[in-house]
């Protein structure tokens, strides 16, 4: 079952999606984003560290969020994106549009 949680920082808010950024979760996220924008949040970070799946509804939500924040001189960032989702976003030419970055590789261990 997909879910999300929100963290607020000095810079804005971070939405951490667990499971799937898909059609079932989109209405809840829309409401959460609307509330953030209405109280003046300038930066929204979608943290996809625990997200394994997206669909076109989820992608549409990211685009809508980006459009809305841009109108208010705000910014959307999408971070910790899984490799498969990153490849999809590359194919759809959305990487720079949505400020998408992948997951950092684990630091190599040193003996």
């Amino acid at each position: 079952m997909s879910s999300y949680r929100t963290e607020h920082t000095d810079d804005g808010c971070r939405l951490m999606v667990n499971g799937g950024l898909t059609v079932v979760l989109v209405p809840e996220l829309q409401q959460a984003l609307k509330a953030e924008v209405e109280k003046g949040t300038q930066q929204v970070i979608f943290d996809l560290a625990e997200t394994r799946m997206v669909d076109s509804s989820g992608i549409g939500l990211l685009i809508a969020a980006s459009n809305t924040l841009a109108q208010k001189n705000g910014k959307l960032l999408v971070v910790n994106t899984a490799p498969e989702i990153l490849r999809l976003m590359q194919s759809m030419r959305l990487i720079s549009r949505l400020n998408i970055s992948g997951r950092l590789a684990a630091e190599p261990s040193h003996e």
């Binding site: 079932v24 997206v54 669909d55 076109s56 509804s57 549409g60 685009i63 999809l88």
Partner: protein
């Protein structure tokens, strides 16, 4: 409203084939995807799991939100067959269908458009996409070998 696994009726489930009938509710998509992942896992096709699952989700979303809209007690049929080189996925709704030719002619959505990317996603992962004449059934073929992208 949640959908229990009892609502997902498996017509038959063999090692290479899946055939399900589900209620036309978004909550019914997740159990279908679990079964798809299970079958792909049993066939050691984890490499194409993301591709097949996202395609199934797009087709099911469309069938439920658009295809069956307004049809009381509607169901959606989902079939998947794994061949040697191709996986065939078919989703059928009970609605009147849509003018898929017009949708294809319309082309890609604008960069800032929020909707209309389902076919774009499908074209990225499916080797071939076909609609029936009525427009209430879509069939996709996916390579079993993961393509470099």
């Amino acid at each position: 409203m949640t959908t229990s696994t009892e609502d997902v009726e498996a017509v038959h489930d063999r090692d290479s084939e899946l055939c399900l009938t589900i209620p036309s509710r978004l909550a019914a998509i997740e159990p279908v995807c679990e079964q798809i992942r299970g079958l792909l896992g049993r066939r050691h096709l984890e490499d194409v799991e993301f591709a097949v699952e996202i395609l199934a989700r797009e087709c099911l979303n469309n069938a439920i939100l658009h295809g069956n809209r307004g049809v009381a007690n509607a169901r959606v049929n989902v079939g998947m067959r794994i061949g040697r080189k191709l996986i065939c996925l078919r989703v059928t709704d009970q609605g009147p269908g849509f003018d898929w030719r017009r949708t294809i002619r319309h082309g890609l959505p604008a960069d800032t458009a929020v909707e209309g990317r389902g076919l774009m996603v499908a074209s990225i992962y499916a080797r071939r996409i076909a609609f029936n004449r009525q427009g209430n059934q879509v069939t996709l073929w996916i390579n079993t070998a993961k393509e470099g992208r």
